[in-house]
């Protein structure tokens, strides 16, 4: 045995070297998705929820909803019993609910290439995913600029390195340096290569959805087909937005059909800026949201019965002075609580929330507004919380500092959702007996056994004395976050991937890119 492998003189604990090594080591890349152990918070009783359901059915039957540019969709609806008037579909009362009840799963597993990172979406579970869609990125050093594929990769890396984010997300920023008709290949590959967490697919055209599915099939190889069902495993969850109010368009329907037929999950999300795309009231916004969502979800089941589907709700208020969307306001939080309850009554997983804000920089406005949405989202029992990390200025910018600040908060919320430990260890009667009146608990056996994990510790909050904080350069939260994301990216190592799989993915991308000219339309 070479000298270096002889253990040092020692026993018991191994002193400073061992403890430093353990405490300074990078934390696990991920913790399991959340299983909520606190009660749901409700703002309406059954009577109120039933009223909204009645009104949504009235909208679908009487006003109708458009399925635009998709003859197949109209045919499917006609066959299901809806009335068709041009592209407007009038859906009889109760039809959507009966289709959904018959076929849509209450939960599903989204498989990750690393099985330890797979997530269950639905039931009592909550999954945190990064923000989706910003064309700009922002950091303290360079300010606001268009996102590039390197920014995209960076946010995939940061999500991979953030233990409290269970999901890699989708369009973590828009890589505007790549051609519109091919950038999805690099985006999907980035999720596959630089992370091993589950991810979202391209929805900007049916063929780009098909590319996503084809790449997932290469990534999963022999594991692609589930022998128990004979269908593909669900490896992609993709965001299908309604063109609110009351319109489903051909682009989204095309991607929806592609994913549903491949047994991949669709996240059906009415996008409501209340006052613009729905009435200004909470009940009005919920009614439009539920009508659009039920039509979209039922449609997935007409296309592919049993395909995984989520009811999404993105609802923001607007400034009635300027028309600008506003975030962190109380009315959308009320909508969120109501929609979560309506999704449960419909029997499908629910998506909403996020660290939403209108702030341009990671300041107090950003933090307040984000908390005002994240907390309701968690208390409402939301199953999939997109936009958990990074969101700035109404989703126009992805912030590097904001990302790590939000990820830190996600850890706090996870602990909150884990609830209260009533076990003998949680009761801690031994500690109370040991210490008694007038002494402190810092040294008792129970504290010695539990101190390291007793409290969720923020990686960014500064709890030191004023003098120490001052001596360390008076850094505010954003400055500390700036140092943290840089350190994370510097220390990042990609998760291992089978070289043959990687080659096959790169080969597929090369062939697809060569098959047609670049285009930005």
């Amino acid at each position: 045995m070479p000298d270096a492998e002889i253990p040092p003189v020692g026993r018991r604990g191994a002193g400073r070297a061992a403890r430093r090594a353990a405490r300074l080591a990078p934390v696990a890349a991920s913790v399991p998705f959340i299983t909520r152990r606190i009660p749901l918070y409700a703002v309406l009783n059954d009577e109120g929820l039933a009223l909204i359901e009645h009104n949504a059915d009235t909208v679908l039957e009487e006003v109708g909803i458009d399925f635009k540019g998709d003859a197949e969709a109209l045919a499917l609806w006609r066959e299901a019993g809806a009335g068709i008037d041009g592209e407007r579909v009038h859906i009889p009362r109760g039809l959507c609910r009966s289709i959904i009840a018959a076929h849509a799963p209450a939960h599903y597993t989204q498989h990750a290439r690393n099985p330890a990172r797979s997530v269950v979406i639905g039931d009592d579970h909550t999954v945190f995913a990064p923000a989706y869609g910003p064309p700009f990125v922002h950091d303290l050093d360079h300010g606001r600029r268009y996102g590039t594929i390197e920014d995209f990769r960076n946010f995939v890396r940061l999500a991979y390195l953030s233990p409290w984010l269970h999901h890699s997300g989708g369009t973590v920023c828009e890589p505007v340096d790549l051609p519109v008709n091919k950038r999805h290949l690099d985006m999907v590959y980035s999720h596959m290569r630089y992370s091993d967490k589950p991810f979202m697919g391209s929805v900007t055209a049916p063929e780009r959805a098909a590319d996503t599915v084809a790449m997932a099939e290469i990534l999963f190889g022999a594991d692609w087909i589930d022998p128990a069902t004979g269908r593909p495993r669900t490896a992609v969850t993709s965001l299908i937005n309604a063109n609110s109010p009351l319109v489903w368009d051909a682009t989204m329907l095309g991607a929806l059909k592609t994913y549903a037929r491949a047994n991949q999950a669709n996240l059906i999300t009415p996008f409501i800026l209340a006052g613009a795309m729905a009435p200004v009231t909470a009940v009005g916004a919920c009614t439009v949201t539920l009508a659009e969502a039920m039509a979209g979800i039922a449609f997935t089941q007409l296309v592919s019965p049993g395909a995984p589907v989520i009811l999404g709700s993105f609802c923001s208020s607007i400034s009635m002075k300027s028309g600008a969307p506003t975030f962190g306001t109380p009315e959308p939080s009320l909508v969120l609580f109501v929609m979560a309850a309506l999704a449960r009554r419909l029997g499908v997983p629910f998506r909403s929330g996020g660290a939403l804000c209108a702030a341009k920089i990671p300041d107090a406005q950003a933090a307040y507004e984000s908390a005002m949405t994240m907390l309701p989202a968690c208390l409402a029992g939301t199953n999939f919380i997109l936009h958990t990390a990074g969101w700035l200025e109404g989703g126009l910018a992805m912030g590097y500092e904001k990302f790590v600040m939000d990820a830190d908060q996600a850890g706090m919320l996870q602990t909150l959702l884990n609830g209260v430990d009533l076990s003998p260890g949680g009761q801690a009667m031994d500690a109370i007996r040991e210490v008694g009146p007038g002494r402190h608990f810092l040294g008792c056996a129970h504290t010695q056994a539990h101190f390291a994990t007793a409290f969720h510790t923020s990686s960014l909050a500064n709890n030191n004395s004023f003098e120490q904080w001052e001596a360390e350069g008076r850094q505010d939260m954003a400055q500390r976050a700036n140092a943290q994301w840089k350190r994370m990216l510097r220390d990042y190592e990609p998760p291992p991937i089978d070289p043959a799989t990687d080659d096959a993915l790169l080969d597929f991308i090369a062939r697809r890119k060569a098959a047609f000219p670049d285009s930005n339309v």
């Binding site: 018991r12 604990g13 810092l442 040294g443 504290t447 010695q448 101190f451």
Partner: protein
Amino acid sequence: MADELDLNSLNDEELVGQMHDDLYDGLKDEIEQAVHILLGRGWQPYDVLTQALVEGMRVVGEDFRDGILFVPEVLLAANAMKAGMAILRPLLAETGAPKIGKMVIGTVKGDIHDIGKNLVAMMMEGAGFEVINIGINNAVENFLAAIAEHQPDIIGMSALLTTTMPYMKVVIDTLKEKGMRNDFIVLVGGAPLNEAFANAIGADAYCRDAAVAVETAKNLMARRQGSVQERARA
């Protein structure tokens, strides 16, 4: 807890290294045993103190400051240090070795907050100081009595309330009246204090936390008498 390691089988250098690890791990029995072994090998008590215990606790203090160690772990380490000191203290007195220092510490009159002050006492003991902790709600008479009985080098006062912190000045003014003020280092601490307050009442230093209290005490003691720490460093 202990697996089989015979401390007697280690040479001096290995044993001191092991003591540093055992202090870090808060192993009181092992520290006591090792102190006896070194003394049995003819080591001077002063060398055991500086090379084994103080040096070991210096590392603990560093890692506490850097957020690697938790308070309960430092408490265990300080308890192990204290056990070693209990063996050495009478021997140090006999040999006339330089003193690390003695402190009387208490929360001032009207204030019943105990725990922060106790953490300071613990950390001071961990650094080798002898600490007389006179508890909470101490009128100036209590401080004077403790001073008379223990002849400390340092007086530490604590307060958590803005309504009680002015009493620190009462204690210091009384010392001045009695012509005793310059006989002691006066350290003050507590959440509502700052350096300006400490200066205004005539204290020697404001200590924002327990680790700073130890550092400040060491530095001021070194200035007073060329202390153990200074000599160990040299």
